[in-house]
C-alpha cells in the first residue's frame, strides 16, 4: 500500500513538472511573427517553413522557406578550447540566416528584397568569437580531452535522456542544444532548460 502511494506521489510530481511547460508554444513567443509589420501573411510558420517546394540547400533543413545565409563566419576560438569548431552548419546555419544580420528577416517564400534586419541583443553577427561555439562534435573523446566536460553519452540532460539524446543533434552542439526555437518550454530566451543556478551551463560543463 505504501509503495503504491509513493508511486502515485511520484507520478503527480512528474506530471506537475511537465505541466508547468504546458500551454507554452511558439504562439505569442518571440518567434511568433504573425503580427509583425513585415509579415503580410499573418501566418506564423511560413516565415521559416513551407509544406511544399522547400529549400534543401542546407543539410537537414526542415522544409525550409527562408533565405539562407551565405556569410563566412569567424568561429569561436580560445586557448583552452579542445573542440574543433568550423563554419556553422545544419540548423545553426538556419538560425544564423536571421541572426547573423546579413539576411533580412522578411526574405522568405522566395522574396529576396526584404529590408528588416535584426539589431540589438538578438543580433549575433558573423563574428562568432564572442559566442558559445556551435556545430562541433561533442563526444566522449572531447569530454576526456577537455577534462571539464561531462560525457554526453552517459550524462543525464535533466530532460529525460542523456545529453547526446536530448541536447545534441547528430552528436553536435548546435544553437538548438540550448535554445528551443519553438518555445516548447516557455523559458526566457527560448532556452531548452532553465538556467537558474546555471543549470543549463552545468549540464555539460563540469565545474
Amino acid at each position: 500500500m505504501k509503495k503504491q502511494l509513493f508511486c502515485i506521489s511520484l507520478l503527480l510530481l512528474f506530471t506537475a513538472g511537465i505541466g508547468s511547460g504546458f500551454g507554452q508554444s511558439i504562439v505569442g513567443s518571440a518567434h511568433d511573427f504573425s503580427q509583425a509589420s513585415w509579415n503580410t501573411t499573418g501566418q506564423i510558420c511560413i516565415v521559416c517553413h513551407a509544406p511544399h517546394n522547400a529549400d534543401v540547400s542546407v543539410n537537414d533543413a526542415p522544409l525550409w522557406n527562408h533565405q539562407s545565409t551565405v556569410a563566412t563566419f569567424t568561429p569561436y576560438s580560445s586557448a583552452s578550447l579542445n573542440a574543433t569548431v568550423g563554419q556553422p552548419d545544419a540548423s545553426s546555419k538556419l538560425c544564423l540566416s536571421c541572426h547573423d544580420g546579413t539576411v533580412a528577416v522578411d526574405n522568405f517564400g522566395g522574396i529576396s528584397s526584404g529590408t528588416f534586419y535584426l539589431t540589438g541583443s538578438t543580433l549575433i553577427g558573423t563574428n562568432l568569437n564572442d559566442d558559445h561555439p556551435v556545430s562541433f562534435v561533442y563526444d566522449a573523446a572531447l569530454a576526456i580531452a577537455d577534462g571539464g566536460l561531462a560525457d554526453p553519452t552517459s550524462t543525464n540532460s535533466g530532460l529525460g535522456g542523456t545529453i547526446s539524446q536530448d541536447l545534441l543533434i547528430g552528436n553536435k552542439v548546435q544553437c538548438a542544444s540550448c535554445h528551443d526555437v519553438h518555445n516548447a518550454s516557455g523559458i526566457d530566451n527560448l532556452l531548452i532548460k532553465s538556467n537558474a543556478q546555471s543549470d543549463l551551463c552545468l549540464t555539460c560543463h563540469v565545474k
Binding site: 569561436y76 580560445s78 578550447l81 564572442d130 546555471s198 552545468l202 565545474k207
Partner: protein, 570 residues
C-alpha cells in the same frame, strides 16, 4: 532492503564528494546560492559572473566582465630572470575582480550590475584583494620557456609541466596555480601545497632535497606569533617554501618574503617556538652579528666581497641548503652549506668549501670592514692576510701552524691541528648553538677573554685561551720560559695575553719575519719603544729563546732575554 539503504547512503556520500568539487560549493559561486559571505542578493546564475554565451568581451573564454586597467605595479627583484609584463590572458580576467577596482556584479550581459548582499560592490579588502600593486605577488604574465629555465638555473624545464600545473601559450598565469572552478586544496590551488608540492612543480632549488627546511618535522609550540600564518600545515616540512615565502601580498616584496625585515623571516621560528635551538636569545646579546641593524641592504646578488657593511642571517646561511651536518676544520658544516664566499686567494667562490671562506666575505677585502680593537705594531684588519700560511705566525685556520713545538696544547689538539674561526668567535654559554651569533663577551668570544691591562689572572679571565692552551703548562710548566716569561707577565704583572700576542696572525711587512713568530705583535697602547735603544722589537732566538726591546709598565727592556733552561735562570 538493507543493501538498498547502503547503496542509497553510498550514492549520497558520492554526491557529497562530487559536490565539494563543484564550483557551486565554492566561494566563486557568487550567486544567491553561494556558500560564502560575498554573494548576490537574488541572481541565481553562477556562471554569469564571469561568462556569457553571447556577446562576450573579446577575451576568452566567453568573458562577461570589463577589463581592468593596465597600470599595475609589477613584481621585480634582483634574482628574477623572468620579465613580467602587464597582466594578460587569464590573469587579466582574474584581476577583473581581484584587483578590487571593478564591481563583482559588473557583468556585460546585464544592463545594471548584479546587486550583492550588503551592498558590496568591489571585492572587500582582504587576502583575496590583491589591489593593483602586484609587486608583492608571485609574478604572472611572463614567458616561461626553456630559455628562462636555463637562465634561472633553478626552474624546471616547462616541457615537464604536463600535470596539474599548466602554462597558457608559454606564459605563466594565475591559472598555473589556481583553478577558479575547483577548490580541492584551499585557495583554488590546482594541487596541494603541502610539502610545497605546487611550488616544486616549477621551483627546483639547489641543495633543497637535503635541507632541514624541507625535512624537519618540528611543530610550532603555539606561542605567538604564528610562523605559519598563511597555511594550515603544522610542520616545517609541510610548510616548506611557505615557512619563509608568501605567494601573495608578501610583506617582503623582493622574493616574496613573509616579512620585510630579513631576520624576522628566520627568527619567527628560530626563537624556540619551532626550533629547539633559540637563536633569538643569542642574536640579541650585547656583542653580536647585528642582523637587526640593517634592512633592505643585503641582496643575494651582491658582490662576494661585501661592499656595503651589513649582516643578515642570509649572509651566512643558505636557507635552501642549511642542514644539520657536522664537519672537521677547516671544512664548512651543514649550517653554512651552499653559501658564497671568498677563498684564500681573495677569489669569489659560489659555494664555500671551508668555513673561513665565509668570514672572508666581510672581514678581508671589504671596505669599511670592522677594525681590530687593539692597536698593534703591525696593524692589519684583513683576516685573510692575517691567516696567510706564509706568515711568520698565525692561528691555524687555513692550515697547520708555523710553531712545531707548542707544549700547552690540550689533546687532541696538536701542532698539526686546524681550528675554525668559530672555535673562538661563537655564542657564549653552555649548550649555546654553534656559530658567532652573539655573546656577552666583546668580539663575540665564546669564552671570557680579558684584554684590559692590569687584569688579575684567573682561569676564567683568559678562559678563551686556556680552553686550548693548558693553563698550568702556560704559567707553571717546566723550564725557564713558562715561569719567567709567562708567569711573570701574566700573573705577576697582570698583563693579558693580548698585550703581546696578536691572536689571528701577523702579516708583516717584508723583512720582519723573525720579529713576529709566536703571534708576537705588541699592543702599542700598552707597549712602547725601549727608551735606551729606541727599539720596539721581539727577536726570536730559537726554541723558547728570544729578546725583547720595549718599554712596558714603566720598565725598559733593553733588551730582556730569555732562553731555554731551568726555571728562574736568567
Amino acid at each position: 532492503m538493507r543493501i538498498s539503504l547502503q547503496l542509497f547512503c553510498g550514492v549520497i556520500f558520492l554526491c557529497g564528494i562530487m559536490h565539494a568539487q563543484d564550483i557551486a560549493n565554492t566561494v566563486h559561486n557568487l550567486s544567491v546560492s553561494g556558500p560564502g559571505t560575498i554573494k548576490a542578493s537574488s541572481e541565481s546564475e553562477i556562471c554569469i559572473f564571469c561568462h556569457t554565451p553571447h556577446n562576450s568581451s573579446p577575451r576568452q573564454p566567453l568573458w562577461n566582465r570589463p577589463d581592468p586597467g593596465f597600470n599595475y605595479t609589477l613584481y621585480n627583484s634582483s634574482t628574477t630572470q623572468a620579465i613580467p609584463g602587464q597582466p594578460t590572458g587569464a590573469s587579466l580576467l582574474c584581476l577583473s575582480c581581484h584587483d578590487g577596482t571593478i564591481a563583482l556584479g559588473n557583468v556585460l550581459s546585464r544592463f545594471a550590475p548584479i546587486s550583492m548582499i550588503g551592498g558590496i560592490t568591489t571585492l572587500p579588502s582582504g587576502n583575496s584583494n590583491l589591489a593593483t600593486d602586484l609587486a608583492d605577488d608571485h609574478p604572472v604574465s611572463f614567458t616561461y620557456n626553456s630559455a628562462l629555465a636555463i637562465a634561472d638555473g633553478q626552474l624546471a624545464d616547462p616541457a615537464t609541466l604536463t600535470g596539474p600545473v599548466q602554462l597558457e601559450n608559454q606564459q605563466l598565469q594565475c591559472t598555473a596555480c589556481h583553478d577558479p572552478h575547483q577548490n580541492l586544496y584551499t585557495d583554488f590551488l590546482v594541487v596541494t601545497n603541502q610539502y610545497s608540492d605546487l611550488c616544486n612543480h616549477c621551483h627546483q632549488r639547489n641543495y633543497w632535497d637535503l635541507s632541514s627546511h624541507k625535512i624537519s618535522m618540528s611543530n610550532w609550540n603555539g606561542t605567538e606569533p604564528n610562523p605559519w600564518f598563511h597555511t594550515n600545515f603544522i610542520t616545517v616540512a609541510e610548510n616548506a617554501c611557505e615557512n619563509c615565502h608568501n605567494p601573495h601580498t608578501a610583506d617582503g616584496h623582493l622574493r616574496l618574503m613573509n616579512y620585510v625585515t630579513e631576520e624576522t623571516n628566520c627568527l619567527v621560528c628560530h626563537n624556540g617556538n619551532v626550533t629547539s635551538i633559540n637563536l633569538e636569545t643569542q642574536i640579541t646579546k650585547t656583542y653580536r652579528h647585528n642582523v637587526y641593524g640593517y634592512t633592505g641592504i643585503h641582496d643575494p646578488e651582491e658582490d662576494h666581497v661585501v661592499q656595503v657593511q651589513h649582516v643578515e642571517c642570509e649572509d651566512c646561511h643558505n636557507p635552501h641548503a642549511s642542514r644539520q651536518a657536522s664537519a672537521s676544520p677547516p671544512n664548512a658544516n651543514g649550517f653554512i652549506e651552499g653559501v658564497k664566499g671568498v677563498n684564500t686567494n681573495g677569489s669569489p667562490v659560489s659555494a664555500i668549501q671551508f668555513e673561513y671562506e665565509l668570514c672572508y666575505r666581510c672581514h678581508a677585502d671589504s671596505p669599511n670592514k670592522p677594525s681590530s680593537p687593539t692597536a698593534r705594531q703591525i696593524a692589519q684588519n684583513n683576516v685573510l692576510l692575517e691567516y696567510d700560511l706564509s706568515n711568520p705566525s698565525y692561528h691555524p685556520v687555513e692550515g697547520a701552524g708555523q710553531n712545531p713545538n707548542c707544549p700547552s696544547l690540550i689533546s687532541p689538539l696538536s701542532e698539526a691541528s686546524i681550528i675554525y674561526c668559530t672555535d673562538c668567535h661563537a655564542s657564549d654559554g653552555t649548550g649555546a648553538p654553534v656559530g658567532p651569533h652573539g655573546s656577552i663577551y666583546p668580539q663575540i668570544m665564546k669564552f671570557q677573554y680579558e684584554t684590559a691591562d692590569n687584569t688579575q689572572e684567573s682561569y676564567q679571565a683568559y678562559r678563551l685561551c686556556y680552553e686550548c692552551h693548558d693553563r698550568l703548562t702556560i704559567i707553571d710548566g717546566n723550564g725557564n720560559f713558562a715561569r719567567r716569561v709567562h708567569r711573570q707577565h701574566i700573573i705577576d704583572e697582570d698583563t693579558p695575553c693580548n698585550i703581546c700576542h696578536d691572536p689571528h696572525g701577523v702579516s708583516p711587512p717584508a723583512g720582519s719575519e723573525l720579529n713576529h713568530t709566536h703571534l708576537i705583535n705588541f699592543n702599542t697602547a700598552v707597549v712602547s719603544p725601549d727608551q735606551q735603544t729606541g727599539r720596539l722589537e721581539f727577536v726570536d732566538q730559537g726554541n723558547f729563546a728570544g729578546s725583547c726591546y720595549l718599554r712596558c709598565h714603566g720598565e725598559n727592556h733593553s733588551p730582556e732575554t730569555y732562553q731555554q733552561g731551568p726555571a728562574y735562570m736568567k
